[in-house]
């Protein structure tokens, strides 16, 4: 095969590039697309975190009610009981219950933070 100069020259005769302003138009589209992708990723991560959180809370409640004989309705009644009485008792069983409840909430928050850290590390920047 020789250099095929005639064919090379014919192919070079075709328009060399797109019209003026083409790159700007494409970059505008790319920036819009980038924003769209960013928004989509944000909503995806929001849904993911919500679903995982709901799952963890449900799982915790399930485990507590079956393995620790924890009653959700009883728990809620005990939770609102101090507010029903409209009295503040700094001592006694009410204070102990609030301490337990605070530890429970703190544990869930720590668990969710750990999960958030794991997801960010596993799937990159969300």
């Amino acid at each position: 095969m020789k250099t095929d100069n005639a064919l090379r020259k014919t192919l070079k005769k075709q328009p060399v590039g797109p019209s003026y302003g083409f790159a700007n138009n494409v970059m505008r589209q790319i920036l819009l697309e980038s924003e769209r992708i960013g928004r989509r990723n944000y909503y995806r991560s929001l849904v993911l975190v919500s679903v995982v959180s709901a799952g963890l809370i449900s799982g915790s409640l399930y485990a507590m009610s079956f393995f620790l004989h924890f009653s959700v309705t009883g728990f809620l009644q005990r939770l609102i009981a101090p507010f029903r009485q409209m009295h503040f008792h700094p001592e006694g069983s009410g204070q102990l219950f609030l301490l337990e409840f605070s530890v429970f909430l703190a544990a869930i928050i720590l668990l969710l933070l750990a999960l958030d850290h794991f997801i960010r590390k596993r799937f990159g920047k969300l």
């Binding site: 095929d4 014919t10 192919l11 328009p15 590039g17 083409f22």
Partner: protein, 187 residues
């Protein structure tokens, strides 16, 4: 652009520096457009398709693993975009039997494609190129305009290197056939 530079550029785009995509665009807009123009046949379609190619490239940049050169990856997107356009438009091309091509001697092919004998011949050759099938146009565009190796061309067109070599040989002969038999009909 070296492979390391390519990787750094891609990483910065993926890390949110979207404006870095301009470098890619400036570097490849001309060859991508030129290739697509060969297949689409008009400037308007070529520009729209080139825009599609860069948008697709941006969306799927995260899937580029660096197994091939960035240009090869981008040309593959361009090829797929252009070929799907020709299918949508139901573009038709003359088919030439292998027997007719086999009868054309190699020295005749070399003479025709190598010797530049003035404007009339060039115009006729241009008409012959326009009658080639999309894959043949892509093949000669990559080989002669972009000076890509047969291995890279094979990777873009997703065929074997041997197949790319055979097709290039066949395309050169087909150009001679079309030059002699059809080129003026298309003008």
């Amino acid at each position: 652009m070296e492979k390391r530079e390519e990787q750094e550029l891609i990483q910065s785009i993926l890390n949110g520096e979207t404006r870095a995509f301009t470098v890619l665009l400036e570097r490849f807009q001309r060859p991508v457009y030129s290739m697509i123009y060969q297949i689409a046949g008009n400037a308007q379609d070529a520009e729209e398709l080139t825009q599609d190619v860069f948008l697709k490239a941006f969306r799927s940049l995260g899937t580029f693993r660096g197994g091939s050169a960035l240009s090869t990856w981008l040309y593959r997107i361009a090829w797929n975009t252009a070929v799907s356009h020709t299918r949508k438009k139901r573009m038709e091309y003359p088919d030439v039997e292998d027997g007719l091509l086999a009868a054309i001697p190699d020295d005749k092919v070399d003479d025709l494609l190598d010797t530049d004998e003035g404007e009339a011949k060039m115009q006729r050759l241009e008409s012959a190129v326009a009658l080639l099938q999309p894959q043949e146009k892509m093949l000669i565009s990559l080989f002669y305009n972009e000076e890509k190796s047969l291995a890279e061309i094979a990777s873009v067109l997703e065929i074997s290197v041997e197949n790319a070599k055979v097709r290039l040989h066949r395309t050169r002969k087909k150009l001679v056939y079309l030059y002699n038999e059809h080129a003026y009909e298309n003008r």
